[in-house]
C-alpha cells in the first residue's frame, strides 16, 4: 500500500454512545473530531487502557464522520472487556489514525468486500467511500451465527449489496463466506478482505487462482502499534514493494522479509504475502 502520511497523534476523546450490537459485541461512539477528519478507510487506532493496566489495544476505525468516530469490537479478553466498561461521558485516549489503509485509488467499477466476524469493523469506511465514488459494492459477510452478523443492515443502507454466510446456517449460506467468493463466475476489479487469518488466506488463494490480487487487512498481536518494536511482522516476498526499508539482501539468506503489520500494513496485497 502507498504509505499514508496522516496527522497521527494522541486524541482525548469522550464516549458519546455505546450499544451492544450482539452479546459481547460493542459499538462505542466517540466525540473525536480530529481523528474522524484524519482517518482513511482501513486505518486503526491504539486504544489506551482507561485504567492504565495492560497494553493498548489495536482497533479498526469503524465510522468516521463529522465529530464522530466509532469502534466496533468483540469482548475477547481483559483489554476489550475493560473498553467495554466505558459509558457515555467517560474519556478514552487513542493514538491514531495508524497504518496504511486500503488503496481505493483505482476507482473500480465493481468491488467485493469479504468480511469475517469482527473484520466487519475495518471495512465500513471503505464501503462508504467506494459507493460514494460510484463503485458497485458487494459485501460478503460471514460470522458464526446470525446474531453475530452485526450491523449488516448498515451496509445495505450505505448502498452495498449483501451476501451472508454463517457457520451454523442460521442466516445466509451455511458454511464459509469464502465459498461465495469462490463460486463467482467473474471476479470484480477490486477485492478487499478483513477477518480471521484462515479466511484471509482463502481469499488470497482464490484471488491467485483467478489471476487477481486482493487487499487483505491483517491482524497480529501488537505491542507498540507504530513500527517501533518489530513484534507484529508477517513474511512478504523479497520482491514486495511493501517490504520495509531494508535492502533485501540484508534480511538474511531467506527468500522472505518480515514486514510490520502495524506500519507497512495492516493492508497487504495478497500476492506479496508468504504466510
Amino acid at each position: 500500500m502507498p504509505t499514508i502520511d496522516c496527522d497521527s497523534r494522541v486524541h482525548e476523546t469522550r464516549v458519546t454512545d455505546r450499544s451492544e450490537l450482539a452479546p459481547g459485541v460493542i459499538l462505542l461512539g466517540l466525540n473525536a473530531p480530529e481523528l474522524a477528519r484524519a482517518t482513511r478507510a482501513g486505518q486503526y487506532v491504539m486504544a489506551i487502557p482507561p485504567t492504565g493496566e495492560a497494553a493498548a489495544t489495536a482497533l479498526g476505525i469503524y465510522e468516521a464522520q463529522g465529530e464522530r468516530a466509532s469502534l466496533l469490537f468483540f469482548l475477547t479478553g481483559k483489554r476489550t472487556r475493560e473498553l467495554g466498561e466505558l459509558r457515555p461521558g467517560d474519556m478514552l485516549a487513542l493514538t491514531g489514525p495508524l497504518g496504511n489503509g486500503f488503496d481505493l485509488s483505482s476507482k473500480p467499477r465493481h468491488a467485493v468486500i469479504v468480511a469475517g466476524g469482527v473484520g466487519i469493523a475495518s471495512v465500513l469506511l471503505a464501503a462508504q467511500r467506494l459507493v460514494a465514488d460510484g463503485t458497485r459494492v458487494e459485501l460478503l459477510y460471514g460470522a458464526r451465527n446470525e446474531a453475530l452478523l452485526v450491523d449488516a443492515q448498515r451496509f445495505a443502507e450505505a448502498g452495498c449489496e449483501l451476501a451472508l454466510a454463517t457457520d451454523d446456517g442460521s442466516a445466509g449460506h451455511h458454511g464459509l463466506i469464502t465459498a461465495l467468493l469462490e463460486r463467482r463466475s467473474e471476479m470484480p476489479d477490486l477485492i478487499l478482505a478483513c477477518g480471521p487469518s484462515p479466511m484471509l488466506r482463502a481469499v488470497g488463494r482464490i484471488a491467485a487462482d483467478r489471476g487477481v490480487r486482493a487487499q487483505l487487512s491483517l491482524e497480529e498481536t501488537f505491542a507498540c502499534g507504530v513500527g517501533g518494536c518489530w513484534g507484529c511482522v508477517v513474511p512478504l516476498a523479497r520482491t514486495s514493494a511493501q517490504a520495509p526499508g531494508f535492502p533485501l539482501e540484508s534480511q538474511g539468506g531467506s527468500d522472505v522479509v518480515y514486514a510490520r503489520i502495524c506500519k507497512e500494513g495492516p493492508v497487504f496485497f495478497s500476492d506479496e504475502l508468504k504466510w
Binding site: S8, R9, V10, I48, P49, G52, E53, A54, A55, A56, G77, R79, A93, T95, E220, T221, F222, A223, C224, G225, V226, G227, G228, C229, W230, G231, C232, V233, V234, P235, F246, P247, E249, S250, Q251, G252, S254, V256, V257, Y258, K263
Partner: protein, 320 residues
C-alpha cells in the same frame, strides 16, 4: 523564596543526560516512531534497537504474547546488520531532539568488538549499550551475561574499541547477578543496565503449541518489577558505577523504587506500549516528588532505600 526546579540531570560515564529516563532498547524504535505522541525533548535518551554484525531476519511469528501484567517477546534481533545500519540508518538519526544510545548484540566476542567499533565512529551515537543478555536467540547470545568470564572478555573487547560511554546490559536469568556485575565493572563498563527480560514461555492450550514462534521469549512489564528492583539493589551493593534500572516501570512511583534501590537512571520499555505519554508524565512527577520533599536533585535519593527498622518490633536473627 523561589527555589530552583529540582534537577533531574544524571551522568552515565561521560554521557550527560537532561533527564534520568531512557527508552528501552527494542521498545522505542529510533525515537521517530513515537515522535507524534511524545515530546522527545523530555526524554533522557533513546536506546536504539540492538544491531548485530550480519543482517538478521528475526524469529518466526508470533513474536508477542500478552501475559498477566506482562509481555512475552521473541523478536530475535531483526536488523539489517551493522554495515547497512551505519551507512543508511544512523545518518537519519542526526537531528533527533534527544541523545541516542546504540545497542550492540552478537554471537562472538569478535562480532561485538566489530559492531562497537563501527558504531562508535558514528556522530549521532552518544553512547553504546552492550546487550549481552538477549534471551530470544537460540544460541550463545544469552550465555555471555550468564557467565562471569565471558562477560569480562566481551566487555574488555568492547571497551577497547571506544571511549564513549559503555553501558553493559545484564540478564536476570542467573544465579548471582552481583558477580556478573562485578566482572563487567572490572572489565571497563561505565554503567550497567539492569535488567533485560526474564526468560518465559506460554502454551496455547487449544492448539497445544507454544504461543511464540521461537517457543521461548523474554518477559517484560510490571510483572517483573519486583525481580528488577531486587536485581538493582543487589548490583548497587556490588559495584560503584551507575546503574540504569529497568523492568516494569509505568509510573514515577515505580521509577522511584529503582532510584531508591540504587539506580542512577531508569529505562522505560513496555510501558510505552500502554501509553506513549508515560515517559513525560514520569519526568513531571519525579520533579514534583523532589520538590515536595525539598530535594535538589534526583541523585539525592539514589540508593537510599533504608534497610533499617521496618516494623516497630525487630528481632535479630531467626535461626531459632
Amino acid at each position: 523564596m523561589i527555589t530552583a526546579q529540582p534537577s533531574l540531570e544524571v551522568k552515565l560515564g561521560k554521557l550527560q543526560l537532561a533527564y534520568p529516563t531512557l527508552m528501552g532498547s527494542g521498545c522505542y524504535g529510533s525515537g521517530d516512531e513515537f515522535a507524534p505522541f511524545a515530546d522527545l525533548t523530555k526524554i533522557g535518551a533513546v536506546v536504539l534497537k540492538s544491531v548485530t554484525r550480519r543482517p538478521r531476519l528475526g524469529n518466526p511469528t508470533p513474536r508477542l504474547v500478552h501475559t498477566p501484567a506482562g509481555l512475552l517477546n521473541a523478536i530475535g534481533l531483526q536488523n539489517p546488520g551493522i554495515d547497512w545500519y551505519v551507512e543508511r540508518e544512523v545518518p537519519k538519526y542526526a537531528d533527533r531532539p534527544c541523545p541516542l544510545i546504540g545497542s550492540v548484540a552478537g554471537f562472538s566476542i569478535d562480532d561485538y568488538a566489530y559492531v562497537c567499533e563501527q558504531l562508535a565512529k558514528c556522530a549521532p551515537i552518544a553512547a553504546i549499550e552492550l546487550n549481552i543478555s538477549c534471551p530470544n536467540v537460540g544460541s550463545e547470545g544469552e550465555t555471555f551475561a550468564c557467565d562471569p568470564d565471558l562477560t569480562a572478555r566481551v566487555v574488555r573487547a568492547a571497551r577497547a574499541t571506544t571511549d564513549k560511554t559503555l553501558i553493559v546490559k545484564l540478564s536476570p536469568n542467573v544465579t548471582d547477578i552481583a558477580s556478573i556485575a562485578r566482572e563487567a565493572e572490572a572489565a571497563g563498563a561505565d554503567a550497567l543496565a539492569v535488567i533485560n527480560t526474564v526468560r518465559g514461555m506460554s502454551v496455547d492450550v487449544e492448539t497445544w503449541r507454544p504461543r511464540l514462534g521461537n517457543v521461548t521469549g523474554g518477559l517484560s512489564g510490571p510483572a517483573i518489577r519486583p525481580i528488577a528492583v531486587l536485581a538493582v539493589y543487589e548490583v548497587a551493593r556490588a559495584v560503584s558505577i551507575p546503574i540504569v534500572g529497568q523492568g516494569g516501570i509505568e509510573t514515577a512511583t515505580d521509577a522511584l523504587e529503582f532510584f531508591l534501590a540504587g539506580a542512577t537512571a531508569v529505562s522505560i520499555g513496555t510501558a510505552n506500549f500502554t501509553d506513549p505519554r508515560i515517559p513525560e508524565r514520569i519526568v513531571a512527577e519525579l520533579q514534583a516528588y523532589l520538590g515536595r520533599r525539598g530535594l535538589a536533585a534526583i541523585g539525592d535519593i539514589v540508593g537510599k532505600a533504608n534497610v533499617g527498622i521496618v516494623g516497630a518490633y525487630q528481632h535479630g536473627g531467626d535461626e531459632g
